[in-house]
């Protein structure tokens, strides 16, 4: 990644970062929901695939920016973390834990309501893989995304 792009990501305003985090978190479930909805419309397969891939690429790009923004402060790639970095990392992990707990509670509640209404839940490749992909992609990325969510906007140095 070029230095200019890296610096632009570094100085992204918090409002824009929060939009990207929301896109990153919602992108994959939205892409799957759109795919499921479009499958029953009789639209051209290639068009459905293009829409799905577009949503997926947007999600991946937002995830990439979020990961890049953390600049090695979450995974420990940065050699020297100062006291502010360490405090931010701690806050990001705490927020990730809260977000993850909220998601798990919501998924459990929705599943419970779905099952008590007489529906059955079939665990096959069509349901397992999207869920597994979500866990594989989002759980490691969540702390970086939360760091991008909480950090104040930085301003380039004038001196």
């Amino acid at each position: 990644m070029s230095t200019t792009t890296t610096r632009r990501i570094e100085y992204l305003p918090r409002s824009r970062r929060r939009t990207l985090v929301a896109v990153a978190l919602a992108g994959y479930p939205v892409a799957l929901a759109v795919l499921a909805a479009l499958k029953h419309t009789g639209l051209n397969r290639w068009l459905i695939l293009a829409v799905f891939l577009l949503l997926l690429l947007t999600t991946v790009a937002a995830l990439g920016v979020g990961y890049r923004y953390a600049r090695g402060r979450i995974d420990g790639r940065r050699a020297r973390l100062d006291e502010r970095d360490l405090a931010l990392r701690q806050q990001a992990y705490a927020l990730s834990h809260r977000v993850l707990a909220a998601i798990l509670i919501a998924v459990t509640a929705i599943t419970e309501i779905y099952l008590t209404n007489g529906n059955t839940l079939r665990l096959d490749a069509n349901t397992f893989w999207p869920a597994a992909m979500w866990v594989i992609v989002y759980i490691p990325a969540l702390p970086s995304l939360m760091l991008a969510w909480i950090e104040e906007t930085d301003q380039p140095s004038d001196a």
């Binding site: 570094e10 100062d82 006291e83 502010r84 970095d85 104040e152 930085d154 301003q155 140095s157 001196a159």
Partner: protein, 88 residues
């Protein structure tokens, strides 16, 4: 302990400019990342006591000359303001 920290005002930007130091140079002297200097200067981050004391030591100033809970007066005011007239 309250979640919201008290705002700590500081003269870091003025002192840094006075000594012709960039954020990067000051950060390197203090062993912190250069972004942290910007966050402290804007009041977005309150440094730890250890870091505040290290900054005071580096500038050879008392800590209260750099950090305060009250908004800082301009340095020129602090240096050149005439002392109040002595009572007769």
């Amino acid at each position: 302990m309250p979640d919201q920290q008290r705002r700590v005002y500081n003269r870091l930007a003025v002192l840094r400019a006075e000594r012709g130091l960039s954020r990067k140079q000051l950060a390197d002297n203090l062993g912190i990342n250069y972004q942290t200097i910007g966050y402290i200067e804007r009041g977005d981050y309150n440094p730890s006591l250890e870091l505040a004391l290290t900054i005071a030591e580096l500038f050879r100033l008392p800590i209260e000359a750099i950090f305060s809970f009250k908004p800082m007066t301009p340095l020129s005011d602090a240096v050149f303001r005439e002392p109040p007239a002595a009572p007769r």
